[in-house]
Amino acid sequence: MSHSTTIEVALPFDDAQQQRSAAILGMWIFLATEILFFGGLFVGYAVYRYEYFEAFREGSHEMSVVGGGLMTAVLLIGSLLVAISDHAIEEASADIDQRKLRRRLGGYLGATTLLGVAFLSMEFYEYYELIHKGLFPGPGFDASSFPASVRDTQTIQMYFTLFFCMTGLHALHMVIGISLVGGMAVLLSRSEHPQRYANLLTGIGLYWHFVDVIWIFLYPLFYLVR
């Protein structure tokens, strides 16, 4: 590992390689807990979609397929940029021009941050529209635009409840991800030795990709029920 010379080895570890393995393994275990954190909601989704399929189909007609697809694409571009940055910081040799590396990393991660913000803006615009239509679940929920079959029993509300819960939790993760990636962009573009933060960037990158993967599932489950 070329960067082993530049990073300090923290106390319990023997060497940089071990430290990096620990960081990556720790992150993967954390992501496993995240899978189950979202998992509780996916179980809820499965149960209610099974019981109230009609409502889920009606509900998904309120969503913009193209808009959701665009959001997915935006996230995937972000993922690509994060992967490139990770690759860059990993593979850069110690004698590389640090200024150039800084600039590149700052650029990639800055762009990723903007893409994340763009995703959230689209999502919040969608929320705004749904709320405007009275489709925010709760006592003020206005189901009048739906057929009686899903209106009277309030099952249509369940679709929107799950939609807001699951995309909301995802959006929360996005906010955290944007802060982390944005923070990294600032940190790396100012750092004398960006490679010191390679483990941190890899960890944050894994988190970012994970948040993408959640959306990869949310998109067909809420937008493409048809």
Binding site: G40, V43, A46, A73, D212, R226
Partner: protein, 108 residues
């Protein structure tokens, strides 16, 4: 960029993801009944696999990390399958029970 050659997999991967995204949107307009869900989840699964393998570097990390990723999914599977076992079979007993009533009543 001395390492641009090694960047290629990332771009290929991205292209593949975009193609899959297009396919999943397209497939949602084709009515396959219950298979729509299956196809959508299958494509999402492939995408996840690609992201995990290439972007998240699962192909070259330690086995333990892979185990963690698979473990998370496996445990989610436990939750889904056993919960589904309850919901799916809830009506069964009653149905069977009432058939019995009819049989019993038909007898005399």
């Amino acid at each position: 960029m001395s390492h641009s050659a090694e960047l290629k997999p990332l771009f290929y991967n991205f292209a593949a993801l975009m193609v899959l995204l297009a396919i999943t949107i397209g497939m949602s307009y084709v009515d396959l009944g219950a298979f729509n869900l299956f196809v959508a989840l299958l494509i999402a699964g492939i995408k996840t696999f690609l992201v995990a393998l290439i972007f998240m570097n699962l192909r070259s990390t330690s086995n333990v990390s892979r185990l963690a990723a698979v473990g998370g999914l496996l445990w989610l599977g436990f939750a889904l399958i056993l919960t589904a076992a309850d919901y799916h079979s809830r009506g069964w007993n009653e149905a069977q029970a009432h058939d019995l009533i009819e049989v019993e009543q038909a007898r005399p």
